[in-house]
């Protein structure tokens, strides 16, 4: 692939409205997951990392928005994209610039309760959400929408790099977002997938995920000067695979994920021993984390420091791949890998090196993985070089 540069934009999550705040808090081992008792979401309490509504609204109103009204998720997208583009010189009104949106459920909450009075049911269509964003920013092109379960964010990033490589666009802004809703809470509860405490990825006591919500944005560009990073960070390659095994359970062998990792490594002309850090999926369900331990061993990565961000941020679904990639890029640049919040003792059958406290490491290559319902897996590789 020709040089594909990537730089981090703004993360908005339960831990804060800036990437800096998110990084610092996770570095300190903090979590945004709380025990939520809120019958707007469920008559049963559940664990999730949620963003304060007043904070969203006050920041959004400060941006002088005027009409029309925006959904909660749209406000988050607009805040993150706006914040990410400051000082970059990227102009979304240009023909050489594209926006890609990754989301699993979009504005699904407009189908719920009192939201039905505020927004028409048509707002639940992802293309409607994209249209609202397009109108707000005056985008030249309609946003491209990726809806691929929990790998949406990572796969959106991979498609962005391929489009840049093919010369279709010069700059691509990739944004991913999802919110906690009565819909998703009920769904994951029906699956008995939500754990009995703040989630503990890879831990022997893990018993399920915590939900999360958030938005993050990345900028992918053919132009080194568009990168806001002190040293250039590049996307070297990526791969998406399917387990072809089960629509909701992970593969028992981890072959789909290890295959995605190996293909991504080959495309990037790297070998496993060169990888300095893995930002994994780590949902803290018994099966997912076990599958990942198998896959990382198959791919020869059992010695590589690995974490999951879901113990700090919950499972942010369509946002996860972007939020966690931003934090991966920050880790590369700051030469600091972050703890896997919620982890104490290994509860997976194959050895993996879970990061327990923030560590200073100088490394040049980072791997980000994701897996999702539908049997899909995605892996993307980032590199940091010192050349100008």
């Amino acid at each position: 692939m020709k040089n594909i540069f990537v730089s981090s934009g703004q993360v908005i999550s339960a831990l804060g409205f800036t990437t800096e705040e998110n990084f610092r808090k996770i570095e300190n081992g903090e979590t945004g997951i709380k025990h939520i008792h809120d019958d707007r979401f469920s008559k049963f309490p559940f664990f999730a990392a949620c963003i304060d509504d007043e904070q969203i609204n006050s920041r959004f109103e400060a941006m002088d928005n005027g009409e029309p009204s925006y959904t909660r998720l749209e406000k988050l997208f607009i805040l993150s994209i706006s914040g990410s583009l400051q000082q970059t010189g990227i102009n979304l009104k240009n023909a050489d610039t594209l926006l890609i949106i990754a989301s699993t459920k979009g504005n699904i909450n407009v189908l719920e309760g009192k939201n039905q009075d505020l927004f028409k049911p048509g707002r639940a269509y992802l293309s409607e959400l994209a249209h609202v964003i397009q109108q707000y920013f005056g985008l030249f092109h309609k946003p491209l929408i990726v809806c691929n379960a929990c790998i949406s964010g990572v796969s959106a990033l991979i498609y962005a790099s391929r489009l840049i490589s093919a010369g279709k666009y010069r700059h691509i802004v990739v944004t991913g977002g999802d919110i906690v809703s009565a819909f998703t809470v009920a769904g994951f509860m029906a699956f008995k997938a939500i754990g009995s405490s703040a989630c503990k990825p890879y831990d022997s006591d893990r018993d399920g995920l915590s939900l999360g919500e958030g938005v993050a944005t990345l900028i992918v560009s053919a132009d080194r000067n568009m990168s806001n990073t002190a040293v250039p960070v590049k996307i070297l390659g990526g791969s998406v695979t399917n387990d072809a095994n089960h629509i909701s359970g992970p593969s028992r062998t981890g072959d789909g994920l290890s295959s995605a990792i190996e293909t991504a490594l080959t495309e990037s002309e790297l070998v496993a021993s060169q990888i300095g850090y893995i930002s994994a999926h780590g949902t803290a369900t018994p099966f997912n984390d076990e599958m990942e331990s198998l896959a990382f061993n198959t791919a020869g990565l059992q010695q590589v420091p690995v974490n999951s961000f879901k113990g700090a941020l919950g499972h942010t679904l369509g946002a996860a791949g972007i939020i966690e990639s931003v934090l991966t890029i920050e880790s590369l640049i700051r030469k600091t890998v972050l703890p896997s919040v919620g982890f104490r003792n290994s509860g997976v059958s194959m050895p993996i090196r879970v990061i327990q406290a923030a560590q200073k490491i100088q490394f040049n290559y980072a791997l980000k993985t994701a897996s999702g319902f539908g049997g899909c897996n995605a892996a993307v590789l980032f590199s940091k070089t010192d050349e100008q």
Binding site: E112, I145, K168, A186, G187, K192, V240, N242, G256, C376
Partner: protein, 212 residues
């Protein structure tokens, strides 16, 4: 550009009628709706795949269309493994099933929210079902558009082949919304230098798509 990619087969299912490679395959003469239509198609496909009955409308539609194109593949046994890809797109995502599930969330006195319904509240599950049936393990992607985007589909699929990411690809449009099915699938493969093959290019795709 790729002059060596062909459309090995194609299929369209909409408004109670199915076409395969341009020929009428099946018509729902009773017009009783997609439920009975899809069951009729399943039986006519002569499959023994009871998993079909668990699927939601979107997945049944995708599954049927995949079987229609695979039935006319040069060698369907090749459409498998890590170099077989699937790329689908639609407008409504999984909203048809989402609305069903949402009803169970807001009216918990009647049906409790069921994991068997929730699992289908993602459009890429349709890809998962196709992959499971055929052991397809390669690149898979689901995009949302206002309508079938011929240029994007062509560019995306071509790139997969150009970069050696895929050797076969099931691709197209698969929408189910407000009781209506609307699908157009293609099986794209490398040319085998036989005569009368449909070239995989934007003009051809547009022609085939408009004909349905």
């Amino acid at each position: 550009m790729n002059s060596n990619l062909i459309i090995s087969s194609y299929a369209a299912v909409s408004s109670g009628s199915a076409h395969q490679c341009g020929n009428a395959w099946c018509d729902d003469l009773n017009q009783e709706g997609f439920n009975s239509f899809s069951r009729m198609m399943y039986k006519k496909l002569n499959l023994s795949y009871p998993r079909f009955y668990k699927m939601d409308n979107l997945c049944k539609l995708a599954f049927i269309c995949s079987e229609l194109v695979l039935e006319k593949a040069g060698n369907r046994a090749l459409v498998t493994g890590p170099k077989a890809a699937v790329m689908l797109s639609n407008h409504a995502s999984s909203l048809d099933t989402d609305r069903l599930f949402n009803d169970t969330v807001s009216n918990q006195e009647n049906d409790l929210p069921s994991p068997a319904v929730f699992v289908y509240t993602l459009p890429n599950i349709s890809i998962g079902e196709i992959c499971i049936k055929n052991k397809i393990k390669g690149e898979n992607a689901f995009f949302i558009f206002d309508g079938f985007d011929v240029q994007f589909t062509f560019d995306y699929v071509s790139e997969l082949f150009q970069k050696g990411r895929a050797e076969t690809c099931i691709c197209g449009w698969c929408d189910f919304d407000l009781g209506k099915e609307d699908a157009f699938f293609m099986l794209v493969e490398k040319s085998t230098l036989l005569n009368n093959q449909l070239v995989f290019d934007v003009d051809t795709i547009e022609k085939l798509y408009k004909k349905k």
